[in-house]
């Protein structure tokens, strides 16, 4: 097995990791860097539990090779501290088992960075990238909207 040494920039820190070029970013985050906040839910790009932010965009880390992330800034759930999204998820009871939560939070965080004024349509088109099996999405919707509109009720759909 041929491993290569690459430098990844994750959560603002540079780390040199020894990887197989066939390793996905998700695997490397979890196995090499111990960042297990990004979750495997399908390894097929279908559930969003592994979502991280690459550059400014949400990315399913199971759909990306770690080697593709060289020279890019990767942010994982561990890189967010006390972000408004995190607080909103707690306040709105937007999770139960919590397994989908890191992925959702990263997606919402990225949405907020890219489209702070996103309308219902945009929110829906971003959010349906993730699956939550526990909630009925109502609380997630409330959390997202509170973050995007600073809680202004009248913006609700």
């Amino acid at each position: 097995m041929t491993k290569v040494a690459v430098t990844l920039n994750v959560n603002g820190e540079e780390s040199e990791v020894l990887i197989r070029p066939a390793d996905t970013l998700l695997d490397v985050l979890r196995e090499n860097l111990g960042l297990t906040g990004s979750k495997p839910g399908c390894l097929n790009g279908d559930c969003g539990a592994c979502t991280v932010i690459v550059g400014k965009k949400p990315m399913k880390s199971c759909l990306m090779l770690a080697i593709e992330a060289v020279d890019q800034n990767v942010t994982t759930i561990e890189g967010l501290t006390d972000a408004t999204v995190q607080r909103a998820f707690v306040e709105h009871f937007a999770f139960q088992c919590g397994y989908c939560t890191p992925g959702f939070i990263m997606n919402v965080h990225s949405l907020k960075e890219n489209h702070p004024e996103a309308d219902g349509e945009t929110i829906k088109s971003w959010m349906d990238s993730n699956i939550c099996r526990c909630t009925g999405y109502e609380e997630i919707e409330a959390a997202v909207k509170s973050v995007l509109y600073g809680g202004q009720e009248h913006h609700k759909r």
Binding site: M1, G37, Q96, C100, N130, Y137
Partner: protein, 773 residues
């Protein structure tokens, strides 16, 4: 200070939003090995050869296991080889395990195992299974070792038959003026917890088996490891951290067995068995399918007289929990109605489908789909409003259940109140069907629900409270935190009983069967009831001890003492007292003498007066109480395309008492979402050879954000006197009536009765246009 009923934020909330929360697969140790399954591509086939030679040659492979010399396993019938040896009975069944240094090596080697199969004819559904010349899934079902009271029918695919005989069926039919006779069916589907199953096992030098597992039933794992492999119970240590969703699916024991077998093959080294999503869907136990026949008789005025029911549960390839599921379906075989004459035959039937695990509601949503659809069909025939028909026949205290339990004010919730509320919430009086334009209609459908928990009559739960030096407490309970916030609710109860701030109750999230008191299984909405009673008992025990030591120091009678704000004080003169922190760890007199010691409260609970069912009549007391509810949905239906949107879904659940408002609501809406997904989209699609065509989230799609309706939830509070604060189960009820309500709404919308699930536009089109498959 927050109280019972308040929306206390769950104790593990911060862990979960920061990615620090640990689930089973998140914990790794250096030097651990990895197992990869080889699974069957056939649903029914003889294996003529397994060639593992190539796989064994791969560098880094530590063991290849093909399953010989393993005991047969299974919870009620020992019919399942942990690894199939001579034939496979479902698509996805494990036929070999490869243990290797890395997951990649294990997988590469697994790909090199060549199994020769000789396909056999498959059993495609329970109805097919009972046909005279159906292929046999198990040739010798009668010869398996089994629990008492289970009677497989020799040389058939029937693994068990539960009979309910209440009243006099003939009389019931004679008294009936209007009858309906309806059939329903749906295929197995999946739980689809976001965390797939995984387990690690290690065998220590002293023979202890340490298993880490993503399970709802760590204590069951302990018991079964003893049953199956003869390991002393004290030497089975099962650890379960947070679990990423279960919904019943993780109450079955499978991954643990494989991990143990794998570890044993490599001299006890720690081995992890991780399930890919595909394996989690088809290899691991699924959500049961059902073929049902419901006949109802009523008077012209709409008084239900008789129900005659046949349920054929799709038990899949192995019985495991299927028999229990088919029994639970019999226990509450009708909806929550007074019916004097009930006959139900509920069968657990082998097919070549993945075998079932419990699924949120334990057969109730399944049975209710058939029963509550029939109620609507009966209402149409009677020209009675379907809600009114339900209200008229609602079961009440004093009536008896199908297993002839006479209900009282505590053991049954208030059905009429639930109906009345839901009627308003969904604006029922507007009419079931509203025409929007020549294509679009809005239609409403309702369903009632009830459920008891058919859990073993001797199930127990325990709790321990230890005090810290600062007067705060630690709570240990065997309840697994699967997302229901039960442990937070338990902390609320303890805080309430000890009269301290809930922040001062620290909760141990992880379950470890060696040091955590047992809680039978985290299923059946029994967490708050049984563990709640245990936690309250532990709090009472601690209070007794606190008062006792305080009485010595204060030189006062114990019964003159009271507690509050973290103090024990004289009832008459509250300023005289002691803080918990001064006595919880022993008390030291000014001269250095000390008395007492760390306060440790303990409590347990065992269910009372439950009985086994009579084999001929089903008579018996299956569960502690029946929770009830009424649900409704409104859809917007396109009559040209047969497509629909779910607009609003309403639930009124009699939860006895709301313990944590937002958590309770979240449990209900989450369950509703799951029920609507089951009703509207989710199913395994099988090909002609019973292979699952869609074992992936891309083709098997739970509800996604934005597809959900608006949820309306209200509660009724009829206390269950035995339960802490009177609370009834709330985790499952939201699911139970949703498929039926959706089926009723769409049947009204399209104008023909719909009898299958999931209710896809294609199914509706086919039914309406009378086009066969």
């Amino acid at each position: 200070m927050e109280n019972i009923g308040d929306s206390v934020i769950r104790k593990e909330a911060l862990e979960k939003v920061t990615g620090k929360a640990k689930y089973t697969h998140d914990e790794r140790t250096k030097g651990m090995f990895y197992a990869k399954k080889v699974i069957s591509p056939y649903a029914h086939a003889k294996m003529t050869a397994k060639d593992t030679s190539e796989a064994r040659k791969v560098k880094g492979v530590r063991a290849v296991i093909t399953g010989e010399n393993l005991p047969l396993i299974g919870e009620e019938v020992r019919d399942r080889p942990p690894i199939a040896t001579d034939k496979v009975r479902y698509h996805g069944e494990v036929v070999a395990l490869v243990v290797a240094d890395t997951p990649e090596v294990a997988k590469r080697a697994a790909n090199l195992i060549h199994v020769s199969y000789q396909p056999l004819p498959t059993v495609q559904s329970p109805s097919h299974a009972i046909e005279a010349n159906a292929p046999l899934v198990h040739e010798n079902v009668a010869e398996y070792e089994k629990d008492e009271g289970i009677e497989p029918i020799p040389k058939s695919n029937i693994s068990n038959h539960t009979k309910i005989r209440k009243g006099d069926i003939e009389k019931g039919w004679r008294e009936s003026e209007v009858t309906v006779d309806e059939s329903f069916s749906f295929s197995p589907s999946d739980h689809t917890a976001m965390e797939t199953r995984s387990a690690k096992a290690e065998i220590k030098a002293n023979g202890s088996v340490v298993i880490d597992t993503s399970s709802q039933a760590p204590f069951m794992v302990k018991k079964l490891m003893n049953d199956y492999f003869g390991i002393e119970v004290g030497k089975v240590i099962v650890n379960t951290p947070l679990v990423g969703g279960g919904y019943g699916g993780k109450a079955s024991v499978q991954q643990e067995i494989l991990a143990y077998i794998a570890s044993k093959a490599v001299g006890g080294r720690q081995v992890e068995v991780f399930y890919s999503r595909e394996e989690d869907m088809i290899t691991a136990p699924c959500h049961i399918g059902l073929d049902a026949k419901v006949k109802l008789g009523a008077t012209k005025e709409g008084t239900l007289k008789v129900a005659e029911i046949v349920y054929l549960f799709d038990g899949g390839a192995y019985s495991d929990k299927a028999i229990h599921l088919s029994r639970a379906g019999a226990v509450d075989c009708t909806g929550p109605y007074k019916i004097d004459h009930v006959k139900c035959d509920s069968y657990s039937v082998y097919t070549n489908h993945p075998y079932p695990a419990p699924y949120r509601g334990f057969s109730h949503s399944e049975v209710l789909f058939a029963f509550e659809r029939t109620m609507d069909i009966l209402a149409k025939k009677l020209h009675i409003d379907p809600l009114q028909l339900r209200e008229k026949n609602a079961i009440l205290p004093g009536h008896t259940t199908p297993t002839q339990v006479r209900l009282n004010r505590s053991t049954i919730g208030h059905v009429p109140k639930c109906i009345e509320k839901v009627k308003k919430l969904i604006n029922w009086d507007e009419g079931e069907l509203v025409e929007v334009n020549d294509r679009i209609v809005r239609a409403k459908g309702v369903s009632c629900l009830w459920k008891t928990s058919t859990i073993p009559t001797d199930s127990t739960s325990g709790a321990i409270l230890t005090f810290n030096e600062d007067g705060t407490v630690n709570l240990m309970s065997g309840v697994v935190e699967i997302g229901t916030a039960t442990k937070t609710v338990l902390a609320q109860m303890v805080a309430d009983r000890l009269r301290i701030d809930v922040r001062d109750v620290h909760v141990r999230m992880k379950v470890d069967t060696q040091t955590t008191p047992e809680h039978w299984k985290t299923v059946a909405s029994r967490g708050t009831f049984m563990a709640g009673r245990a936690a309250l008992a532990a709090a009472d025990d601690a209070l007794t001890q606190l008062k006792k030591i305080a009485s010595t120091i204060l030189r006062a009678r114990v019964d003159d003492l009271d507690v509050g704000n973290g103090r024990v004080f004289l009832r008459e003169e509250p300023s005289v007292g002691l803080e918990f922190k001064d006595i919880a760890y022993g008390y030291t007199y000014p001269n250095g003498n000390a008395i007492g010691g760390q306060i440790i409260g303990r409590g347990n609970y065992i269910l009372r007066h439950l009985t086994e069912l009579d084999p001929e009549t089903g008579k018996g007391n299956p569960g502690p109480e029946w929770s009830v509810g009424a649900q409704a949905i409104e859809v917007e239906f396109d009559r040209r395309d047969y497509t629909y949107k779910m607009l609003r879904a309403a639930s009124v659940i009699d939860v006895g008492k709301v313990l944590n408002e937002k958590s309770a609501r979240g449990q209900v809406t989450g369950a509703m979402s799951m029920g609507l997904a089951f009703g509207g989209r989710e199913t395994f699609v099988f090909d002609e050879q019973a292979r699952v065509l869609n074992p992936r989230l891309r083709t098997y799609r739970p509800i996604h954000y934005g597809e959900h309706p608006e949820y309306i939830v209200e509660f009724v509070e009829t206390p269950h006197i035995d339960a802490p604060y009177g609370a009834r189960g709330a985790g499952e009820q939201g699911l139970l009536g949703m498929p039926a309500a959706l089926g009723n709404a769409l049947s009204t919308a399209v104008g023909v009765p719909l009898r299958q699930l999931p209710l896809t536009p294609e199914l509706i089109w086919r039914t309406k246009e009378g086009i066969g498959e």
